[in-house]
């Protein structure tokens, strides 16, 4: 059986690499290159994928993948998310149109999201309070989905753990239903 994986996706600069680094037992493998996109306020950006892992201590590991954020790598997003235990979508609220960014990801994952353990983490909400988390939830709701939307700072390990806690709770809820089904 393949080791389970958790996928971090989202806009460039939203903190995917940072989030994986906060969780991984080993230094994450990154494929960052020097950023040539003037709209991104950072020196390096991920063009391939990030990889880290959490060792559960019994020979099993949980793999952590980070997708490249740029829309031109959309073809990789679904490939990475297939069979994932959970999907973490990170949005940077300081970008010009974060709601539109979210729509890109909801559309890219539209076939997976209805049955996927997923959470949306919105970063930089203190500096940029608008759009509000409610507006993100509205957009999700318009698609008939209920996906948790939380404010996060990916540099804070506790915030990243909060996102993990949410998707693990979703797994627990689904697993429990399976257990009940076998008892009936």
């Amino acid at each position: 059986m393949k080791d389970p994986k958790i996928v971090f996706t989202g806009t460039p600069g939203a903190g995917k690499t940072t989030a994986i680094a906060a969780l991984s037992d080993t230094p994450p493998v990154t494929t960052d290159v020097r950023n040539t996109d003037p709209s991104l306020a950072k020196s390096h950006t991920t063009v391939g994928l990030d990889f880290g892992q959490v060792d559960l201590g019994d020979g099993q590991v949980v793999r952590l993948f980070g997708t490249p954020g740029q829309l031109r790598f959309e073809f990789m997003w679904q490939i990475l998310a297939a069979d994932a235990l959970a999907l973490v979508i990170l949005i940077d609220n300081s970008r010009p149109d974060p709601l539109s960014d979210l729509v890109d990801y909801l559309e890219a994952y539209q076939t997976l999201l209805p049955s996927m353990n997923a959470v949306i983490g919105v970063g930089r909400t203190l500096e940029c309070p608008l759009p509000t988390l409610d507006e993100f939830s509205d957009i999700v709701g318009e698609r008939g989905l209920v996906v948790p939307v939380l404010a996060v700072d990916a540099r804070e390990r506790d915030d990243v753990l909060m996102l993990l806690d949410v998707v693990l709770a979703q797994v627990e809820a689904r697993v429990d239903l399976g257990v009940e089904a076998t008892q009936e």
């Binding site: 393949k2 080791d3 389970p4 969780l23 959490v54 060792d55 559960l56 201590g57 019994d58 099993q60 949980v62 998310a81 297939a82 069979d83 994932a84 235990l85 959970a86 997976l112 209805p114 049955s115 996927m116 353990n117 909400t125 203190l126 309070p129 608008l130 509000t132 988390l133 409610d134 939830s137 999700v140 709701g141 209920v146 996906v147 948790p148 939307v149 939380l150 404010a151 506790d158 753990l161 909060m162 993990l164 806690d165 949410v166 693990l168 709770a169 979703q170 797994v171 627990e172 809820a173 689904r174 697993v175 429990d176 239903l177 399976g178 257990v179 009940e180 089904a181 076998t182 009936e184």
Partner: protein, 231 residues
């Protein structure tokens, strides 16, 4: 429904010692929140106050105010302590929730809000992710909402799944119900034996075949996330 002909009550936010930036935010938030509010809210610096918003440290003096406001909130820069505080930068959800609380105090409750609630006996799930302001008052709000976002559950199931006291679950569910965020559901048909459960709607496929309760427990333990959540 005669919503089109219903006259909305006018309520006021009286802003005192609130700086220009926060005043502008309040005005924008009031415009944005019209659809969520049951009353027409306006902001002023004198006159009647249903919600008194204090922006500075000056003693409370309210020009033209004879009656006590229904609610009073202090804008503070640091982390706020207590329910009478809003922290800067002013957050939309927290502000609107304060207005909703005032409306709840002033307006008569709807008939469905006065009797036994439908969610006290049946299965239910969230129809939409709640605002931060709705989650905040509940210690395990995010965790409870997460379970309710996946599939329909009864109140007892929710308490068991979340490992949270049933009275606390009931308070949370009640709040979600009154906010109109719960949808009652028929019980989900059991899945085939051994097949991992899918999402709320029957017939959906699971995309996490490797998931099991043991894996989640070990991952929680390794990362230091308790089964009552990190929040």
């Amino acid at each position: 429904m005669t919503a089109a002909t219903t006259v909305r009550r006018r309520l006021s936010v009286l802003a005192q010692s609130v700086n220009v930036q926060d005043m502008l935010k309040v005005e924008v938030f009031l415009r944005l929140a019209q659809g969520r509010l049951r009353c027409d809210w306006q902001v002023s610096t004198t006159g009647e106050a249903h919600l008194l918003l204090l922006g500075g440290d000056e003693p409370t003096t309210i020009p033209g105010l004879l009656d006590d406001p229904v609610s009073q909130l202090q804008l503070v820069d640091g982390p706020g302590d207590g329910q009478q505080v809003l922290t800067r930068p002013l957050q939309y959800d927290a502000f609107v929730d304060a207005l909703l609380a005032v409306e709840d105090k002033l307006l008569p409750k709807s008939p469905s809000a006065t009797g036994r609630q439908p969610w006290s006996t049946g299965s239910f799930r969230l129809s939409r992710w709640p605002s931060a302001g709705l989650l905040q008052p509940h210690r395990y709000g995010v965790r409870l909402a997460t379970f309710l976002s996946v599939r329909p559950v009864t109140l007892d199931e929710l308490a068991r799944l979340c490992n949270v006291d049933s009275a606390e679950c009931a308070r949370f569910v009640d709040a979600m119900g009154h906010a109109g965020l719960l949808s009652l559901a028929a019980r989900v048909a059991p899945q085939s034996r051994g097949v991992p459960a899918a999402a709320g709607a029957p017939g959906e496929r699971s995309v996490a075949p490797a998931a099991d309760a043991g894996l989640v427990s070990r991952l929680r333990r390794t990362l230091g996330i308790s089964n009552k959540g990190s929040t």
